[in-house]
């Protein structure tokens, strides 16, 4: 059985405070703290690129001793902000810099905030279908590359980070059945325009998340034969504090879903594994993870702790 064996997160040490930007944007501090929730944003150092974050996260994982890098047979990088122009794929660049084996597949997955949950399914299926024992799932989507600092809809939200997840046949977390979906009629609500900058229709994204994500979580629980009161924690993509609170409230379990990203921001596909690495408690045995955003799309599954 393939599942999650270890997770490491790489959060750059540099932080940008949102507080000083508030007057120019016409946003109150109470709105920032109570609704957006992001007080400081993590920023990758000047002169570094997506692959640098990936390599740092992977090396942190290897340093933890969960696996020898020579055992890795599959490397997936989830990003929509690759090095250069995306050719070659960032995963190939990371493969080379990590010194992985020549018989290790390396490919990118172009997904945003759903990317981690989607890629859990992709990597586990890839390993199982090819009788492979260990794969590395890396997330890194530094939105500092595409944010307009004057856009009040997006400039206070996003932080840079990367994570590395080892999937292997010696898992700590068992993957449950998944629920996926896409509403392409809303694709334009979250997209990079011809100006190279991210544009977001906040109301459309909010409505999509508030309506679709609770239903996806309910379907996921049904498929896994688990009731909501049997779940210890719900780890939601950290879009903003308000959307996390809204989804948890509509599910009727505000105590099970928290906003963790106040000191580093919405890190896109890294938001869920950062919490799995450092935020969940040893007593959290059943954890729902749900990503939602770019697409607009959602992806949800149930994780069950084995150790």
């Amino acid at each position: 059985m393939i599942g999650i064996a270890a997770i490491a997160a790489e959060l750059p040490s540099e932080r940008i405070s949102n507080l000083s930007a508030l007057p120019a944007l016409g946003i109150s501090e109470s709105f920032l703290r109570d609704k957006i929730g992001v007080v400081r944003r993590a920023r990758m150092p000047a002169g570094t690129d997506t692959s640098d974050l990936c390599v740092a996260a992977a090396n942190r994982l290897f340093a933890g001793g969960a696996v020898d890098r020579d055992e890795i047979r599959c490397l997936v990088v989830v990003t929509q902000n690759p090095d250069g122009h995306g050719l070659p794929q960032t995963s190939a660049i990371v493969h080379g810099r990590l010194g992985l084996s020549a018989d290790c597949a390396a490919f990118d997955v172009s997904l945003g905030c759903t990317g981690y949950v989607h890629a859990l399914s992709i990597v586990s299926a890839f390993l199982a279908a090819n009788d492979l024992r260990a794969g590395l799932l890396v997330t890194a989507d530094p939105y500092s590359k595409i944010i307009d600092p004057d856009d009040r809809d997006t400039t206070l939200l996003f932080g840079d980070a990367a994570t590395a997840t080892l999937l292997s046949d010696r898992p700590v977390w068992r993957l449950g059945k998944f629920d996926f979906g896409t509403d392409a009629t809303l694709s334009a609500a979250l997209q990079v325009g011809d100006d190279g900058r991210l544009h977001m229709n906040g109301r459309a994204v909010f409505n999509f998340c508030a309506i679709q994500v609770p239903e996806s979580i309910k379907r996921t629980l049904g498929r896994n034969g688990v009731a909501l009161d049997q779940v210890d924690r719900i780890v939601l993509h950290q879009g903003s504090k308000y959307i996390v609170d809204t989804i948890a409230g509509r599910l009727g379990v505000p105590e099970k879903a928290e906003f963790y990203a106040g000191d580093y921001g919405n890190t896109v596909s890294s938001s869920i594994p950062i919490i799995l690495a450092d935020g969940v408690k040893p007593t959290d045995r059943r954890v729902v993870v749900s990503g939602f955003g770019v697409g607009l799309a959602w992806a949800t599954t149930l994780l069950e702790r084995l150790e």
Binding site: F31, R203, A204, F206, N207
Partner: protein, 78 residues
């Protein structure tokens, strides 16, 4: 279907449990009585779900008070 101001206040109270919705002037701007843009989005989503009306982005500015939302729903509701 026609809705009343009381119908809307009931939906609003459900969305904002700690707010005394009964004390809000029906013609006052919702922003002047303490709602922000995210609260406004939450209210309009609740209105859409409760009354089966779709409020497109270009009509959001027409829905800035309790009275205005009631009028909008009554003009566009199913």
């Amino acid at each position: 279907m026609t809705i009343t101001e009381q119908d809307l206040r009931r939906v609003m109270q459900k969305a904002f449990k700690t707010m005394d919705v009964s004390a809000i002037d029906a013609t006052a701007s919702l922003y002047d009585v303490g709602l922000d843009s995210l609260d406004h989005a939450t209210l309009l989503l609740a209105v859409q779900e409760e009354f089966g009306v779709t409020i497109p982005d270009e009509d959001v500015d027409k829905c800035q008070s309790i009275a205005a939302i009631v009028d909008y729903v009554n003009a566009h509701g199913r």
